[in-house]
């Protein structure tokens, strides 16, 4: 009888352990207002299901099953980002006719990968997300098609919430990183460099320690110089 009890307890423990998994649900969180030059464009943005309802599950060889539910966190992040980038943004539901717009943007989430400390013998959880962005001009012709890579990581021992907390933090950082890439590279990647940028609010007093480039074209505005250099920096 004692053997039977021991076997039952062992089997119960094994069942519980084998069913152990980590499941997280991610929100993009409140994105801060971005300091970027807003383009005077009316854009349409159409999300597919990978943006509005995404989840990913993987059983690791090192043990444990991980489930990452982004739900509509990508949509929240992209809505906020494109709202900062463009003067007017219209969300176009799938299957509906596109209203008159200067450009139509169609983002999709093309890949998500993650690593946990047991795989890398490190202290960190890390997540990579890759978005594909398609941009169509006002006639519906494809204007640009490019990838946005995003990365976030969080240490396992510095956050409240253990594994779930660290993995959630890594995912939120990856979403924020994707927004950063879009805000700093979209103009160049979407081939919008020729478009007139909406003037940035000029500072009330001169910026400290300005260093003017010696070979600057006198007809080029400071904003254009900055935009051009920033595009170079993040290309």
């Amino acid at each position: 009888m004692r053997h039977v009890t021991r076997f039952a307890i062992t089997a119960l423990i094994a069942t519980v352990l084998s069913g152990c998994g980590t499941a997280i649900k991610v929100r993009s969180g409140q994105m801060p207002d971005a300091i970027v030059q807003q383009l005077p464009l009316r854009v349409g943005v159409r999300f597919d299901e990978s943006i509005t309802d995404f989840s990913y599950q993987e059983k690791l060889a090192t043990g444990g099953t991980y489930s990452i539910d982004l739900d509509d966190a990508s949509a929240e992040m992209l809505t906020s980002t494109f709202g900062d980038l463009f003067q007017e943004m219209i969300l176009v539901p799938p299957g509906e006719e596109v209203p008159p717009v200067d450009i139509l943007i169609e983002p999709t989430l093309s890949a998500l990968e993650f690593v946990v400390p047991s795989q890398t013998i490190s202290n960190d959880y890390a997540i990579w997300i890759k978005y594909q962005i398609k941009v169509y001009d006002s006639t519906g012709k494809i204007q640009a098609d490019f990838l946005i890579p995003a990365y976030g990581k969080a240490p396992k021992d510095s956050l409240v919430g253990g594994t779930k907390g660290a993995l959630t933090q890594a995912a939120m950082r990856a979403l924020r990183d994707a927004s950063t890439v879009l805000l700093t590279r979209f103009v160049a990647d979407a081939k919008l460099e020729g478009r007139q940028l909406r003037p940035v609010q000029v500072a009330e007093r001169p910026a400290p320690a300005q260093t003017e480039p010696s070979n600057e074209d006198p007809d080029t505005t400071a904003d254009e110089v900055v935009e051009s250099e920033l595009s170079e920096q993040y290309l």
């Binding site: 950063t180 609010q201 400290p208």
Partner: protein, 222 residues
């Protein structure tokens, strides 16, 4: 327990305590230029980007922030998270300026320069470094039975806390100076029934030393 056993135990504990105190610390202010009188300008303490491979622990950063704020001569510190949000997206891990030479290009954008002034931040302190365990040894085993539980053995490990803090003056757009600290120590864990941890708190010592020197440099400058 016999009298001899008690004396042996006390002697071992005292020896362990003495050994635990054998950590060495060195903190230096390097390449520093004189700063203007401190008028309560805001200071923000940041860690270098993990995109650049930085491993500074969040706990260490929190400790430095608390320590430089503390006391009558405490500095006026703006939270790093708040500063990063205010400067979004130009101080994100991917876009943050890695060296002072990157700042003029950023501040040439009037909107970014204005936001920087609006934050009231004069000094940005960049933390870099980490605490590592280069070695250890010993043997410790614990067991539990119907009559009770206990441990026996002795374990030890080394800790090496190596950090530096680089101070940027964002108004003059210069790297004003930096503070380097290195603390090494050995922790011991003797166990006779009960384990008695005798920890060399190298990270904590590094935090206090670094913060103290930063406070002196920025706060008492001029």
């Amino acid at each position: 327990m016999t009298k001899a056993s008690k004396q042996h135990l006390i002697g071992m504990l005292l020896a362990s305590l003495w050994l635990a105190g054998c950590s060495t610390a060195r903190t230096d202010l390097v390449n520093s230029s004189d700063l203007p009188d401190y008028q309560g300008e805001s200071v923000v303490v940041m860690t270098k980007s993990y995109h650049a491979g930085n491993k500074t622990e969040t706990g260490f950063t929190d400790c430095v922030v608390k320590s430089v704020q503390k006391g009558g001569t405490g500095l006026n510190v703006l939270s790093g998270d708040e500063f990063v949000d205010l400067m979004y997206p130009w101080f994100e891990p991917r876009t943050v300026p890695n060296k002072i030479e990157d700042m003029p290009k950023l501040l040439r954008n009037p909107a970014i320069a204005k936001r920087m002034r609006d934050t009231g931040v004069r000094y940005v302190v960049w933390l870099d470094g980490s605490t590592e365990r280069p070695g250890g040894g010993g043997s410790l085993s614990c067991a539990a039975g119907p009559g009770g539980a206990g441990c026996f053995g002795f374990a030890w490990w080394e800790s090496d806390s190596d950090y530096d803090a680089s101070v940027w003056d964002v108004e003059d757009v210069t790297e004003a100076g930096s503070v380097e600290t290195q603390v090494t120590g050995t922790s011991y864990l003797p166990a006779i029934v009960i384990p008695i941890p005798l920890l060399a708190r190298t990270k904590n010592t590094a935090c206090k030393d670094l913060a103290g020197r930063l406070k002196d440099y920025i706060g008492n400058a001029g």
